[in-house]
Symmetry: C2
Subunit: 322 residues, 2 copies
């Protein structure tokens, strides 16, 4: 039995392909410029060739599985659907069919937040957990909800959009067209907005350029260094996130909630106030039953590991495949 | 094979025991005064005797199953735990063990909202659904969340407390000690409070006695008759309920959400504004994927049917038992 699987993280700009050991090491990787491809067949051919190179490089004659994390990935069809926003290829991309036929291994595809959740379960801090939630914080906020070690897909295949739960009715306008979504307060952009408002409240005037060049990483570093405005920005983030996560607990009663992504680099500047607001908003029934934790996956490898974990999970779901 | 099961609805005041046909008819029922019992053994003996009477009355030598719906019912142990609030019996009540030994059939116990959800699935409008949510509206708000035709219990056994999701941060003070829970706006009491506030906004002065004697049923009847203050009260209910249910959809992507309980007697005075606010707050991904519906169970029988359905569901979960 071999010990390597393939994890593929598809983004609008780049696609990362990694060879992953069963212990969760990304032993080798390739990058393809997604935006350069316009045809599904050519894109899948290039991905298949990259997989072949990774196998040759390690003298492998076979692999265990292939997993693919992609925004708008449809786990039911194993495809990225036609006309996906932010993707240069406008055709449907039938990964499961094409890569399955080429490599004769289980192939699984899901959206990136669900991939991250399965990654935490197979390689990270959720190895022994039955029920948990993964929150992926970045430009937006995604989530993967795990119940009895299965991703909750719901009737549409698209369950688990905690970033778009409304926490502040009539709050900030969200890109989805509604107001007050969690994403507007706790994503990287939301945290920058919190900083701008906190500066105003502290009587500090920010220039147009300062506002335009502000990044979530800058706010996080300033908060860790004790800057009161940056700390106030993270307090706001923690307040809304605390309410949203307490509400999520009243839904599925998980053992743990994991946070992943750029904004988590702020470490205790995020976690300390978050634990405070989470506990404050948690229904008494659930006190001391839920852990708030950072993901144990390395942020640079998490997307590949999550994708590889999808394939690994598919092996146990399809026992005849290998 | 026989065609009758037993459904038991345990409340703090009364316990209702019904003989239920496989087609969902409550063919006969008994009532015990729960509050008169102080010892678990005596209470279970009386329930067992009532079951025996119901069987004798219909010349039955056996039954299919026994299901019990109870506030704070623990599905994992099949017991009502010791020191349950609003219950005169302060001992643990081990129903599964005692009734199972006496009648030799599958016995299942769960909280009343989960029982209602399973009742809808076995006897009501959710017979063909995989994923749905049941909201039980009464003095409080309970919920049962069904995923792949299974109740979501979570790690604690107590998942699914949508009545205690916070919809209005810093809103009305809830009995749970927090502020802004859905229950404060959409339970029977919440609807009365909405009416009092709407009267104030309309410049109508209510006497102390009018406020004290106001019931949700009165508000519902007035709303159906076109009273603008009562309609405004239901609009407020619908607004907060619409947000909470839209958030629930972003969690589990159900095919339908069912509403049950006294406040649903207001019919279209509730449903019409609710559909409006629900659609307005629903993430675009889920448009036209979720139905809002009233329970198809008769309100006078729903608790017994829900309890009986728990037992019926236990038959398929425990194939060796019968």
């Amino acid at each position: 039995m071999n010990h390597y699987s393939i994890g593929i993280d598809i983004g609008g700009t780049n696609t990362d392909i990694g060879l992953v050991s069963t212990s969760g090491q990304v032993v080798s990787r390739r990058r393809l410029p997604t935006a350069n491809y316009l045809r599904a067949t050519e894109f899948m051919q290039a991905i298949g060739d990259a997989i072949g190179q990774l196998m040759d490089e390690h003298s492998l004659t076979d692999i265990r599985s292939i997993g693919i994390g992609a925004p708008n990935g449809n786990p039911q069809t194993g495809s990225i659907e036609a006309n996906t926003p932010n993707l240069s290829i406008k055709e449907r991309i039938p990964f499961l069919e094409v890569l399955g036929n080429r490599f004769h291994v289980p192939v699984a595809l899901d959206n990136d937040a669900n991939a991250a959740a399965i990654g935490e379960m197979i390689y990270g801090g959720a190895k022994s957990l039955q029920h948990f939630i993964m929150l992926t914080m970045g430009t937006g906020i995604g989530s993967g909800i795990v119940i009895n070690r299965q991703i909750l897909h719901g009737s549409t295949g698209t369950a688990g959009e905690l970033g778009h739960t409304i926490v502040q009715p009539d709050g900030r306008l969200c890109g989805c067209g509604r107001k007050g979504c969690l994403e507007m307060y706790a994503s990287a952009r939301g945290i920058c907005q919190n900083y701008v408002e906190a500066a105003q409240a502290h009587g500090k005037v920010l220039s147009e350029k300062e506002i335009r060049t502000l990044t979530c990483q800058m706010v996080g570093e300033a908060a860790l260094a004790g800057d009161p405005i940056a700390m106030a920005a993270y307090d706001t983030t923690a307040r809304w996130l605390g309410i949203a996560l307490a509400n999520a607990v009243a839904f599925s009663a998980p053992e743990a909630i994991f946070l992943m992504g750029g904004p988590t680099r702020a470490g205790e500047a995020l976690m300390t106030p978050l634990k405070h607001f989470f506990e404050e908003n948690l229904l008494f029934l659930y006190k001391d039953t839920v852990q708030l934790r950072f993901s144990e996956l390395n942020l640079n490898e998490a997307a590949i590991l999550g994708a590889a974990a999808l394939g690994e999970a598919a092996i146990s779901a399809a026992p005849h495949a290998q």
